[in-house]
Amino acid sequence: MMRALIVDDEIYARQEMEAMLNETGEFLVAGKCANALEAIRAINKERPDVLFLDVQMPVINGFELLGMIDESLMPAVVFVTAYDEYALKAFEENALDYLLKPVEKERLLKTVEKLKRRFTEDDKPVFTGPDIKKIPCIHSAKIKLINTADVEYVRSGDGGVYVICPNGEFYTELTLQILENKTNLLRCHKQYLINIDLVDEILLRENMVAEIKTKSGRVVPVSRRYLRMLRERLLF
């Protein structure tokens, strides 16, 4: 049984897809998500094998969502859309398959075959996805998109990953790893990413560690391991 996650902004589309997946007897539906944020959370938590993903969704579309998934967790992706204008783009994104709504049962069975082959060959899907220009954050029950250029640093802790801007801290579902890979933020500590453009000064301490003071006066620790890389990067 493959663990499947359904992502679609229409409730009946999700229900219909779930029903059809159940009918094949090949899937265990691990969750249904109405938008990209729910999807990121569910992927991080449920670690599904395959994603049935709608392209057109509010705020963050299906392609953008792929760029926000941690590579180690990347499931196989089957795009499900009402209209085939995205087919080419879908395959550029290394989608395993591309289904048109309303989905035909026979067509879905072919997708099942493809998925099975993929998993027996065990080649991990590779998605590069677009760079992240805006980080989706949750802020008092609203979704806030923060430009990466406005981010001073990112901190990960027990409570999750927080994006820190001059005007506040915002919780995000994205992992530190994916933000390091897909944005221009640099790792300065196991738990921190820093935006070099908003650094005010770097204070060197004993033991080859340092502290970074951001333009808004916040202090970010730099560990020994990453100080060396920062030095190479900044040539000091």
Partner: protein, 558 residues
Amino acid sequence: MEILFRMTQAMSVFVVIAYIYCKSPLFKSLTADAITARDRIYLYLVFSSLSILGTYLGVPVHDAIANTRAIGPVLAGIIGGPILGTAVGLTGGLHRYSLGGFTAFSCGLATILAGMIGGGVHWHLSRRNRSEHLFDPKIAFLAAFGAEILEMAVILIISRPYDNAVTLVKVIAVPMIASNAAGAALFMSIIRDQKNMADRIAAVSSAKAFKIAERTLNILARGINGETAVALAKIIHQETGVGAVAITDREKVIAFIGEGSDHHEPGNPIASPLTITAIQENRVLFAAGTRERYHCPLSDDCPLNSVLVVPLHIDNDVIGTIQLFEPKNRRFLNMNKTLGEGITRLLSNQLLLSRYEMQKNLLVQSELKLLQAQVNPHFLFNSLNTIIAVLRIDAVRCKDLLIHLSNFFRKNLKRANDLSTLAEELDHVNSYLQIEKARYDDRLAVEIDIDPSLLKMILPTFTLQPLVENAFKHGISHTMGQGIARIKAFRTDGRAFIEIEDNAGVFHEKEMEDGHGIKIVDKRLKGHFGSHSGVTISCVPHEVTRVTVQIPMESHAS
């Protein structure tokens, strides 16, 4: 006494010259509104000759000449200004000086002064914006009168021996002052009359042209067909008073009014070689009836003898001709020739304009057709997908949704130039909303608040639907949270308002560009209700986008 008589004779010669001058092509330089450098040269030549002639026509008196030399420079000065007056005076004066006599210098000088006086009058009148008095014979009279008194004074002051000068002035003063002043006034009055006549003819023909234009433009807005062509021909026939008027297309006569209409009938193929040539070569052809005649190809008894054929065209394509005829016993007036050509040019422009208008309307219609044809495929397939999903749970609802979907498409196929009531528009929108509500069952609320007295209000079909669809396509489908759509119709200050709101607060400038739904709705409303109606958009980012349709209530009786 004899001198006065001789001088009157000289003056008469001047009057004849004035008359001939007015009939000559040289006179054109005076009827023009602005005098060009070339005109000035003509004026200089004419009035210098006049001045010299005045000397020769003079009467020898006491080793001097009683003369009408001053008329030339005075008139030249008044008409052409100080420079021209002085130049003419200088010419006449130098000529007089060359003839000798004891007043040679004083008379020559006085002639120059006469030109300057004329020029002074011109300068004075122009400066006070009273140029219309330049051609007033009274002014000419007074100027010449003054110039002659001055001349007498100059003779007395300069010419020696003084006694001789006194004797001379006693003899010539009265006749010279009288004849120069009267001559100048007469000359000017002839010029003025001729000039007025030219002006009047111009005024009459332009009034005629305007009248024809005014009467024909409305007719032509409907394009050229058998009916409008007859109306057009009638107007041209009435206003120009020519013998007959014909309008043809490229192959046949479509209207014929006036003499010879017994055998020139609408529907006849074009037979006249003149017309055929005019159409083929796209040029105006004229047979004046003297050397070139119009030979009626249909009947030997045709009274028509002269014709003007003017091609009627749109862009560069000849679409037909307008023809003006005169019978054998009447001359084809030049004025009618000009008028005929002018009117046809005007009509051609008007035809171009009406074609442009028509194409613009067609464009809006086809834009709309395109918009309707472009039923959003996402909408269609997602709707079907939703309906299929609903079928698993609720067959009755599934049936309702299918009925709404078919109603939506049926309404979409309605002809674009139809009108609908607000109630019909809302029915169309409702089908759309029912499906959207099903698609976003969990996160969409629709609020509708309509003033029932507006339900019968007439709107262009497809006013509401594109606006509501827009609110979903560009608004609600871009929000993650609860979507709210509101449709309100109410009246305030004698106007009806329809508001379509969504809570996404997304607005793209391009939605108001040509070709987009909102812009087309706006164009159609303005086309139907005038410029006080239309669509406006306001947007508070992330809160609300409000599209408002405004319609003046008095423009439709509901």
